[in-house]
Point group: C2
Chain length 476, copies 2
């Protein structure tokens, strides 16, 4: 980690903890330079990072101030500590979310579907089209069981940004991040095994655990710093945990980026208990600040991290091009890959490789990062405007998903049913828990263009929530 | 089944059983018409089917005769009855087969790779290209978890030929037949369960069983009629068999088509023991005679057959477009599909749907069937010419794979190593057994254009075999 990143992390944490509040003046550049024994320019860079994260505002000739916006919404609470590993439920709700038909005329705020309409994606379509017509029929064969080498080379190149120096041989192409996560779980676990997950959790992982009869231990997770290391340490002491599954960068659904110091501490913990880590980095490239955050994998020295990712959130999910870096579990992962799907569709792999090689990927990322960051601000404002005062909201640092927490007696399933009649679709909280927690929560996507129709939908959601809270005021 | 198909089956079986031998005159059309109480034209049609299968030759003004070619090679023997369920080995050999690089300058007779160079495939490339550029970005979304409805509708239409009346809702699109088979096994079995398989078996299935810690019970399989029903009945009586997995049409590697009567008897057996059947039909559309053979699924009345197939062998494997008809196990199959890959790449699905809808698929099939049938004759002749006299050879009734059995002490692994130095690649027998049987067997593919170079390669294989048999004459 660079010095300015480190400093930005420290100041950011103080703001999050409420040591500095909205509108308050922050220490001067010179003061911080003296305090932390770093150069003036390091402090300036640190403040720039915090500006990018919208925690800090620079006022000409006055210095740096905690952003006013910042204190507008309280953060979601951490869930209670896990009592015991649970079998996974909620498949019915997940299926309902999956079954949502994008052409049914509803406003879809539920699925984790990226915006695929950007003109910066056009070269990809051209490559897809061109590859299909290539006279050597290059996209039609089975191809290498590990995936097209040209693509693996490009992925290795991209992953330098996340702190990893890899070669094409370290990478296994998969049919989306889904297959990567499924392979990772299957390669590590037997039925009845326990996997510790951050909570709320991505439903793709928990439902895969269900399929493999793996039990979930839901670890309380901080909406800013990620999985609670204390709670995890306790769990590792108490239970025979077979693997730790986390999404440390641009977490789904909470949107946080785990600080590097936490990533390293998590890795140390995993080393101490000799436990592998399944790291989902599928939103990592969509962090609002650049350079993008490090992966846990980038600190991994003994191959215990199985990194899983894909182009589904950055480019388009229909491509089904994902990958994994399974570390010391490569051999097992290849077996699982073979029996899962034999190979991954080749033509999209070749097209993506050309797209990345031509520099179009980074250009597209720049645009999408800026777009999603702006949408995040707008969506946060809408929620603040239209939702009840007691609403708690996540502060996404990347991606296009926002997590909303309402008073504990609130019922997002009832809300969802009411909204369906109003042609609005959301993702209900229990989908993100192995055991059906978070019934008082919901997740919204702000990937699509935020039109007036969208604002009207968010307003309707807010009003429907208020109405439910009026009609069912709870016991408190 | 039509009357003429039925009659063709009866006569064909008599020929196979040696009741009529090569060159012998067959009963007249009138005699058969009287004997079987069918019309003259039914008998004529039956004989035409047998001509297509190269069992029978018409001689002008003399009638029908058993084909001379027919008796040229003895059939492979059935393997010995299974002793007990076994854990699956042979992954190393399978991986070696998968790792073979099509561009390494070798003659590849090993992999089950179809010929993708036919001009009848060109409209598919056009559709792939066109779909990629479509302004509504139709190929870029996740799409329906069950797969694109337009494609499922076309598959339902195609499956009428195999005797099944289905709707799009009965079908689940998968990432190749591989994923379909994997889903089927995962949906039905727990670790430690036993699955009965025809033997030799497709390595994709046995290796998937390994991944799920399922044990294989290898059932002796007749090279003409398929899995031994007697042996299977005995096994069902003796062991708690969780599922039966067979490839009844254009079997890989044996090439037989199980007679309809056997298919029905197999289904009855499965019903009696309340066991599901996983039917692999991936080569079914490549049967040399038309209409194509029925599936076991087409006789299934209680949804116990999970049919698995794909366009990998008929069109191109790089598309990774397969499907399954999971019958009563649909709900579980959808869960497994979701956790496996989330969805299947959408653009290839849409292109294939257009290709089938436009009638190009059936046109392409006609061409490939004729091509593979011709190649089968040529390859059989080459083997007869260049291989030792004691060679036993399968009689493929579809597809592009041929199974070769040598004296029991022969070692195909040694052969394979020797051939590698001569730049020839084959598939060794043990790959097709969960327990490493068939070391004295090999499989060759005749999908590619059979050039002089190919003939030279087959000649080299034959000579290398003869040399090994001379140097290691065995104990008998």
């Amino acid at each position: 980690m660079t010095r300015y990143d480190n400093l930005a992390g420290i100041i950011g944490e103080r703001i999050e903890q409420g040591l500095y509040t909205g509108g308050q003046r922050l220490p001067s550049v010179r003061a911080l330079s003296l305090e932390h024994e770093v150069s003036i320019s390091t402090v300036q860079q640190a403040y720039r990072v915090l500006e990018d994260r919208r925690l800090v505002e620079a006022r000409p000739k006055s210095g740096y101030f905690v952003s006013q916006k910042h204190e507008l919404a309280a953060l979601p609470a951490m869930c209670r500590p896990a009592q015991r590993p649970v079998e996974i439920s909620q498949w019915g709700l997940v299926l309902k979310l999956l079954r949502s038909d994008p052409s049914d005329g509803m406003v879809h705020l539920g699925p984790g579907m990226p915006d695929i309409s950007s003109p910066t994606l056009k070269p990809l379509m051209k490559w897809l089209s061109r590859t299909a017509l290539h006279p050597d029929l290059r996209g039609m064969n089975y191809g290498d069981i590990s995936g097209a080498r040209v693509l693996r080379e490009q992925i290795a190149r991209l992953m330098v940004d996340s702190g990893s120096l890899l070669s094409a041989d370290d990478i296994l192409i998969t049919t989306g991040c889904h297959e990567a996560l499924s392979i990772a779980l299957h390669a590590l676990c037997q039925p009845g095994d326990i996997v510790a997950v951050d909570s709320p959790s991505f439903h793709g992982v928990t439902q895969a655990m269900k399929a493999f009869s793996i039990k979930a231990l839901e670890i309380p997770t901080d909406p800013v710093t990620g999985i609670s290391l204390d709670a995890l340490a306790l769990a590792l002491e108490q239970w025979p945990i077979k693997a730790i599954q986390v999404t440390p960068n641009c977490n789904n659904p909470l949107g946080y980026i785990m600080p590097d110091s936490h990533k390293q501490a998590l890795l140390s913990l995993a080393q101490r208990y000799d436990t592998p880590i399944i790291e989902d980095d599928v939103y990592g490239d969509l962090a609002y600040h650049y350079p993008r955050p490090h992966t846990i994998k980038s600190f991994d020295e003994d191959g215990r991290v199985l990194l899983c990712s894909s182009f589904s959130k950055t480019l388009a999910p229909g491509l089904r091009v994902g990958w994994m870096v399974p570390g010391r579990y490569m051999e097992k992962a290849i077996h699982m890959k073979y029996i899962n799907t034999g190979a991954t569709a080749l033509q999209p792999q070749l097209a993506v490789a050309e797209f990345v090689r031509g520099g179009y990927y980074l250009k597209h990322l720049r645009r999408m990062r800026a777009r999603y960051q702006l949408n995040c601000e707008i969506m946060t404002d809408w929620i603040k405007t239209y939702f009840p005062l007691e609403t708690r909201v996540s502060r996404p640092q990347g991606g296009f998903l926002i997590w909303i927490e309402l008073p504990e007696h609130f019922d997002s399933l009832r809300l969802s049913r009411q909204l369906e009649n109003l042609l609005i679709q959301i993702a209900v909280g229990p989908v993100f828990s192995a055991s059906g927690k978070y019934r008082h929560c919901l997740r919204l996507s702000f990937a699509a263009k935020l039109t007036d129709k969208m604002e009207a939908a968010v307003k309707t959601i807010g009003e429907t929530i208020k109405q439910q809270l009026r009609e069912h005021p709870g016991e408190g």
